[in-house]
């Protein structure tokens, strides 16, 4: 096992290199220069000033040198400084990242906690009304634009019913609340974003669990378990579910980039100060260094998520021998 983890960690190195190349290429091969916002869009800036600015950011050097410079700095976790406020990119990301990660983990937990039982029930009760109902819900859920759902729920629970706050993470009187009050306040703020973020995944995962479960229920060892006279509950939850759930674990890891990507919309709509909102703001203001930093870190997080999922998979499935 240790050996396997070590090898997987090693295999991340070429992947990271690839990620850095694509990030760099995306930013530098597209038309428009990082300094455009400060220069050509501003007629007062002279050509000289523009060249000075380009020199400052190393934009006058050949591309491959720029790449290696950038890579070297990145290895020291130095992503440069933001074009908009001059703060260190790594600091800007570091203060936003925990929010996004926490929300995404919450969403993943909800997806796993709701979708797996739902999928199991649909599979056990195949061809019943319940099964058909969940199938339709899955299709509708998958076709629902998340930003639209967010707006409707904001309107319903925030404006019409007034039950939930519609923006930010805390109320203005947050610091004066008791500990319990603080937790409640936070929970009220995150319930809508987390629900919307997990909505699309819910549909997909319950469907996936269902088809895995159906496949397993048809296997010989499940028939054997039934033939032994085990109660149905034990057959389903001990014999079938354990095997059906394995692929779901890996797939949960694979859904991470979707969730992280979706945080742009979620955080923008609900005004949550996370990485997604920072990314959107940076994209709008063409803050290249921040955009590059977040792209790299987003891809890195995905890589780590996949690694964790693979290790979990190897850990929960004793049949898999990684040597």
């Amino acid at each position: 096992m240790k050996n396997y983890i070590f090898r997987r960690l090693l295999s991340m190195i070429p992947m990271l290199l690839g990620i850095s190349i694509i990030t760099f290429a995306v930013i530098h091969l597209s038309p428009g220069k990082p300094t455009d916002l400060a220069t050509s869009l501003n007629p007062k800036v002279s050509l000289e000033a523009r060249q000075r600015l380009e020199k400052l950011y190393g934009l006058d050097k050949p591309l491959y040198i720029q790449y290696f410079d950038w890579l070297k700095r990145m290895l020291r976790l130095d992503f440069g400084r933001s074009f908009t406020d001059g703060r260190k990119v790594i600091d800007k990301i570091a203060e936003r990242l925990p929010v996004t990660i926490t929300l995404n983990i919450l969403s993943l937990l909800i997806i796993a906690g709701v979708a797996i039982p739902l999928g199991v029930i649909a599979a056990v009760k195949q061809h019943t009304f319940l099964d058909r109902f969940t199938t339709i819900i899955v299709f509708v859920g998958f076709a629902t634009p998340s930003f639209w759902l967010a707006l409707l729920l904001m309107y319903l629970f925030g404006v019409k019913l007034g039950w939930l706050p519609i923006s930010g993470l805390y109320s203005w009187q947050f610091s004066s609340l008791s500990l319990g009050g603080k937790i409640l306040d936070l929970a009220k703020h995150v319930v809508l974003p987390v629900f919307v973020a997990s909505f699309g995944g819910l549909a997909g995962f319950s469907r996936y669990t269902r088809s895995n479960m159906l496949e397993v229920i048809g296997r010989d060892y499940v028939r054997t378990a039934r033939a032994k006279g085990l109660p149905e509950r034990v057959v389903i939850y001990r014999h079938a579910l354990k095997n059906a759930i394995l692929p779901v674990v890996t797939i949960l890891g694979l859904s991470l980039p979707g969730l992280i990507g979706g945080s742009v919309i979620m955080e923008s709509i609900f005004a949550i100060p996370g990485m997604g909102r920072l990314f959107y703001a940076s994209v709008m203001s063409r803050d290249y260094t921040v955009v590059m930093g977040i792209l790299t870190i987003g891809a890195f997080l995905t890589l780590v998520g996949n690694l964790v999922a693979d290790i979990l998979y190897a850990w929960v499935d004793p049949r898999i021998k990684y040597s």
Binding site: M15, G18, I19, I22, V26, I27, S30, P31, G32, T135, I136, F139, V140, F142, A143, T144, P145, S146, F147, W148, L149, L151, L152, M154, Y155, V159, G200, G201, A203, G204, F205, R207, Y208, R210, S211, N212, E215, I251, L254, S255, P257, G258, I260, G261, G262, V264, I265, F279, Y280, V283, M284, R286, V291, L295, G298, A299, F300, T302, L303, N306
Partner: protein, 293 residues
């Protein structure tokens, strides 16, 4: 003769599922609306009428009017053209890239395969929405850029699919005989293998249109897609969201339009899959649901 009976078999399998038929109907209707939008819409989509701003749905304005008095029903009908064209062009691009890379990777194998598949793995690491957003932000937001960018960032699934198909096909006898009579690699790849590897691609393409429509609406919602006053469904939602409290119809109807059309393409794609490949009824078939934009 054989082709005809085969397609009849597919059709028989397809129509067994009522959901697939529903998908086909929705998609046909969608095409019809997009095609005949100028005839069907009661008002010009851009026509401003300040005397009738923020009117609720009525017999005069089926879906009400927006803050400039424009008829929402007409705007949504016209918006179908944007969604449909973005969906098709983007998917056309992604299918082309995926097909070529998948073919090359599966056919030549070895180092070429490793290289292409590593590239796919790396591309899949990026949260798709981040990548799309970054590229769009650096170019000018326009409908053409959106199409290209969505196409360039969504070909990986197709490449994997085609590769797997090609790998199993290239060991078959008909490929061997093509090689025996001296066909070039290019000819074998494109004339002999490709036509036989297409059926999963049709499914992926149909589902891909649904994905592209969703992505376009999200980008337009964020103001990075189709620019106003062009009526794109996502952009209409953005324009309406500030008036959500007094004019719910501006948010509800365009969202429903997105939902129904995406639903249609997904149902159609699933139906096609069941019809074209009955073996895939269980197992991995639901995986595409797990990686939304």
């Amino acid at each position: 003769m054989k082709g005809e009976s085969l397609s009849r078999l597919y059709w028989q399998r397809f129509r067994k599922n009522r959901l697939s038929i529903a998908g086909l109907i929705i998609v046909s209707l969608f095409f019809f609306i997009a095609f005949f939008a100028p005839v069907l819409s009661p008002y010009a989509p851009q026509a401003i009428n300040l005397k009738e701003i923020l009117q609720p749905p009525s017999a005069r304005h089926f879906f009400g009017t927006d803050s400039l008095g424009r008829d929402l029903f007409s705007r949504i009908l016209w918006g179908s053209r944007i969604s449909l064209s973005v969906g098709f062009v983007a998917v056309g691009i992604s299918i082309t890239i995926g097909l070529v890379l998948g073919l090359i990777s599966g056919y030549f194998g070895k180092k070429v395969d490793t290289l292409v598949m590593r590239f796919v793995d790396i591309m899949l690491c990026f949260p798709a929405f981040f990548l799309v957003l970054a590229i769009i932000a650096l170019t000018k937001p326009s409908i053409w850029n959106i199409m290209v960018v969505i196409g360039l960032t969504s070909w990986m699934g197709v490449a994997r699919l085609v590769r797997a198909e090609v790998m199993s096909l290239k060991e078959r006898d008909f490929v061997l005989s093509a090689r025996a009579v001296g066909c070039s690699n290019m000819r074998i790849m494109f004339r002999h293998i490709l036509p036989n590897a297409l059926s999963p691609v049709w499914v992926a393409a149909t589902l891909g249109v649904a994905g592209a429509i969703l992505l376009e609406s999200a980008l337009s919602f964020l103001g990075l897609g189709v620019q106003p006053p062009t009526p794109s469904w996502g952009a209409i939602i953005t324009e309406g969201k500030d008036n959500l409290e007094i004019a719910w119809w501006l948010t509800l109807f365009p969202g429903l339009a997105i939902l129904v059309s995406v639903l249609g393409f997904n149902l159609l794609g699933e139906g096609l899959r069941d019809a074209l490949d009955p073996r895939a009824i269980m197992g991995k078939r639901d995986e595409h649901f797990l990686l939304p934009g």
